[in-house]
């Protein structure tokens, strides 16, 4: 009986305050939903079948942590609004003779009810969206086979534990507040008795420093995969810094502005600066949340859309020819002796006349630590160097030796060099040294620098800075290198002489191209690579543009889709916060604006004060999100390189486009809520 009584009081209280409780409950459920969606996508079996799913799952797992931190800060923020409202009611109960433990019971029920609703509704919505997302994903990747509709119990349990803990913390915080306060304070806590916040310079400075450090981290990370946890550390730092800056930094900023009399005592600034200084402490959290959600959305959408739209481009740069064959031989001698003409003829035959722009050349490629114009072919040296410092990776270079005669033939030139001389082309900065070669072997003198190649290289060949070296006596020179490598035994870096043939098939569709590839492959392997000694032919590999393309789009298409799903969820959350914030502030500001009207403020002045305030409050998070985006850019660029898109200009374009699109959306929300806000503050007085 008694128990039912407190339960009913709790329900009643929530119903009476539904204007506040409803958005609160929706927000809580929304946060639970976001958490669940991210966490369950990370564990989804789809990640095992999807290409690159491992990376995505890892990112999502770290994303879950980010989401958790965000949920904690955000729920505390929304709850603080509620508590301030409810305290008045509790003060009344207290004065009417209810003691604090009775009040605590009501609170317990309230929190319990909110938690239940948030978890059940949040997970239900999460399940729905996540399953829908999975189905769409499968559609996009076309891998419907073997998919069963499973429910991620581990994510549900994680959500229950995590949010159970958060709600418990919220309860403890509210209980402590009730216990520690005097009844009169409770009564007054919502009314005018609020203290003006002091500028907390320490927190503001800490926020600024954290932000700087996080930016530094994000910008200096070179190797995205090995340093991904470092990047997420930076993300967490950015989140904390954003909260500190908005909560403490903004108050400090307003206090500074108030000191500037010429600025402060202007009709436009007077009201908005002072009321912002007053409320930023609490609302800073909301703004920081918006800022972080916006950043997440922007990073996700701009990078995944870059991956998607950069697809054609990137597949082309990975596969510069429709078909590329790489025939590897045991030795440079065998490679040189093999019949290149016959290979070309075989290709022509297999392609039944469709082949166009055939290029064919021999290459001998080595990758190792490059110092003072020479690569060391010692594997151990390289391994030790890389693990001891990730920065050593910067020193890795690839040298590819190609016969000068192939160059002359393909470029239509007639350059003559002496043995021991070479022409050099660099994929990075111009080659700076006078010689080039492999340590402990005779060095080549650089006779000329080439700026253009007569054939196209795949971008995978040039992930590391690559030097192409054209030598007149290819067989002799690479023979030397190969002998040296053999002498190193186990410790030698690997290398193989090979013939590369690339050609386009403009008339053939994807299917035909793959058929031609198979036929060509057969022809080459059947002829043992057109080699005299069958055992000198090692293997024939090929890459087909058509293949890479479909692979690429199935992977990046699903990433793009994932990005869109998560963005929608985040945007909805941001819109909810904005709406929630504007309404709750509107009710608080109502009495202020009615006073100002009585003192002689015109409607227009009120409107302009509202605008200037709402504008600042609104666009500060967007602005900071933009800055975050800029500093995340180098990392994002490295990240999408892993997925095979190297088009920085496209990434900049998608970043800018996404920012503008988001800003546009933001302006819409702004106009909608500013109108609602203005309606509230300028509306007729409520008679009490």
């Amino acid at each position: 009986m008694k128990r039912g009584f407190y339960f009913r009081l709790a329900i009643d209280g929530m119903r009476k305050n539904r204007k506040l409780y409803l958005p609160y409950l929706l927000t809580c459920a929304g946060v639970v939903m976001m958490f669940y969606i991210i966490s369950s996508l990370a564990h989804s079996p789809i990640m095992n079948t999807m290409r690159g799913g491992g990376n995505v799952a890892m990112i999502l797992n770290l994303g879950t942590i980010v989401m958790a931190l965000f949920a904690l800060l955000f729920l505390f923020y929304t709850n603080s609004f509620l508590i301030r409202r409810r305290n008045k009611e509790f003060g009344l109960y207290n004065i009417l003779g209810m003691n604090k433990s009775n009040i605590s019971r009501i609170l317990v029920w309230e929190v319990l009810l909110s938690a239940c609703f948030a978890l059940v509704a949040g997970i239900a919505a999460g399940l729905l969206f996540e399953k829908l997302a999975e189905l769409f994903l499968l559609r996009a990747t076309g891998e419907t086979a073997g998919y069963t509709l499973t429910i991620e119990t581990s994510s549900i349990i994680a959500a229950f534990i995590f949010f159970g803990a958060i709600f418990a913390l919220l309860l403890v915080a509210s209980l402590a507040r009730v216990r520690l306060s005097k009844p009169l304070d409770l009564l007054k806590s919502e009314a005018a008795g609020e203290k003006p916040p002091k500028a907390n310079w320490v927190l503001a400075v800490i926020g600024a420093i954290l932000l700087g450090a996080a930016y530094y981290l994000a910008v200096t990370i070179k190797e995205p995969l090995s340093a991904i946890s470092l990047f997420f550390l930076a993300v967490l730092m950015v989140i904390v810094a954003s909260y500190l800056l908005f909560i403490a930094g903004s108050v400090a900023m307003c206090r500074l502005l108030q000191k500037k009399k010429g600025y402060y005592y202007k009709p436009r600034h007077f009201v908005s600066v002072s009321s912002m200084a007053f409320r930023m402490k609490r609302n800073g959290a909301g703004l920081a949340s918006i800022c972080i959600l916006a950043t997440m959305v922007l990073v996700m959408i701009s990078s995944t859309s870059c991956l998607y739209f950069g697809g054609e481009d990137s597949v082309r740069s990975a596969c510069p020819y429709d078909l590329i064959f790489n025939v590897e031989y045991a030795s440079p001698h065998a490679c040189a002796a093999a019949d290149g003409e016959a290979a070309a003829a075989a290709i022509e035959k297999a392609a039944s006349g469709c082949a166009e722009g055939l290029v064919s050349y021999m290459e001998y490629s080595l990758t190792g630590v490059f110092e003072d114009s020479a690569i060391s072919a010692d594997k151990m040296a390289r391994r030790v160097d890389i693990t001891s410092s990730p920065m050593e990776i910067e020193k890795l270079r690839t040298i590819i030796a190609v016969p000068l005669s192939d160059y002359n033939r393909l470029a239509g030139k007639n350059i003559v060099l002496e043995p021991g001389e070479a022409l050099v082309w660099s994929s990075g900065e111009a080659y700076p040294y006078g010689t080039i070669g492999v340590k402990n072997t005779p060095m080549l003198r650089v006779q000329g620098i080439l700026t253009e190649l007569p054939f196209k290289l795949s971008m995978y060949d040039t992930i590391l800075t690559t030097y192409l070296v054209f030598v007149p006596d290819w067989e002799a020179y690479t023979g030397q290198l190969s002998a040296y490598l053999t002498s190193l035994g186990e410790d030698a870096i690997s290398s193989a002489p090979a013939r590369c043939c690339g050609f386009d098939l403009p008339g053939a569709d994807a299917e035909e191209q793959l058929e031609i590839a198979a036929r060509t492959y057969e022809a080459i392997t059947d002829a043992n690579g057109f080699c005299d000694e069958p055992q000198a032919f090692l293997y024939c590999g090929y890459s087909a543009y058509a293949d890479s393309r479909s692979d690429f789009f199935s992977l990046n298409g699903s990433l793009f889709f994932l990005g869109i799903v998560l963005s929608i969820v985040f945007i909805a959350a941001a819109a909810l916060i904005i709406y929630y914030k504007q309404l709750s502030e509107g009710y608080e500001d109502k009495s202020r604006f009615s006073i100002m009207q009585k003192v002689g403020m015109t409607k227009r002045e009120i409107k302009s004060a509202v605008n200037s305030q709402v504008l600042t409050v609104f666009f500060a998070p967007l602005l900071l999100a933009g800055v975050h985006l800029v500093f995340a850019f180098p990392f994002v660029r490295n990240m999408i390189r892993i997925f095979g898109v190297f088009n920085t200009r496209l990434l900049i374009a998608t970043n800018v486009a996404c920012f503008l699109a988001f800003a546009l959306f933001y302006v819409f929300v702004y106009r909608g809520t500013a109108r609602a806000y203005y309606g509230i503050v300028s509306g007729g007085e409520e008679r009490q």
């Binding site: 409320r279 100002m596 002689g600």
Partner: protein, 254 residues
């Protein structure tokens, strides 16, 4: 010439769906001369606040006219009303209506800031006023840090700093203890002595006894008035009490 004339003022409140009508003022007529200190007395619910809101053009009358210094406030376009109120009127409310986000100083500056005055001029005006009102030491404090009487004096300072033609006060002593009430009333008497015209609505006999003239309103009409003449505050207090007694025992002045 009168600074304020009120002709046949009528105010009917209609509920949102037009189902209920409350006639707050029926037919109010009176005028106020420059330098007068007029108290308007009436019971709670008799329409005092309504009257004051109409005088201040915070609300529009159903019919009738309010002429302030020769200007019919109803004819002012909406966008000029606020400026008019700001420049010509000072307002002191029962519940102070100070903004909790401002220090007392900034609260007092508010109308001047809205009028576009610069800081130097504002602070030059505030200094003597704050001394006179005894709040010079409190200017940097926030409303929640000072007492009710101090808040009301700050509110009075805000009303007076624009040097208004007319000071309107709605139950200014309603939320004050008796000492703070005395202080505020003698303050009003003092500014009136220096020429400030005041219209104050109140249901407190004590407050009314400081005025130079007392109007009584009931059932939406002014039905009686008392002049101070050469009476002391005490004598006027007695007269007001007597009038109210006659009223309560059913007497009708007309």
């Amino acid at each position: 010439m009168s600074i304020l004339e009120v002709h046949d003022l009528k105010k009917v409140y209609t509920s949102r769906f037009g189902t209920q009508k409350v006639e707050a003022l029926r037919r109010v007529n009176f005028s106020v001369e420059r330098g007068e200190y007029v108290a308007v007395m009436g019971e709670s619910g008799s329409g005092k606040t309504t009257l004051l809101n109409l005088l201040a053009a915070l609300d529009k009358p159903t019919s009738g006219k309010v002429i302030l210094d020769g200007v019919d406030t109803a004819t002012l376009p909406e966008k000029n009303v606020a400026a008019f109120r700001r420049d010509q009127l000072g307002f002191v409310f029962q519940d102070f209506n100070l903004l909790d986000t401002f220090t007392l100083e900034d609260n007092i500056y508010l109308p001047l800031v809205l009028a576009g005055k610069n800081y130097a001029e504002m602070s030059a005006r505030l200094k003597p006023l704050a001394e006179e009102l005894g709040i010079a030491q409190l200017l940097k404090k926030y409303p929640y840090e000072v007492s009710g009487g101090q808040k009301q004096r700050a509110a009075a300072a805000r009303a007076l700093i624009t040097e208004p033609k007319l000071l309107l006060a709605d139950e200014p002593t309603g939320a004050l203890d008796s000492r703070a009430t005395d202080e505020l009333l003698s303050l009003f008497a003092e500014v009136n002595r220096r020429g400030q015209t005041i219209v104050m609505v109140t249901h407190s006999v004590k407050a009314a006894s400081h005025a130079t003239r007392v109007l009584f309103i009931r059932d939406g009409e002014v039905y009686h008035q008392l002049y101070r003449g050469s009476d002391t505050n005490e004598q006027l207090y007695q007269k007001i009490s007597d009038t109210l007694t006659v009223l309560a025992t059913g007497g009708d002045a007309r």
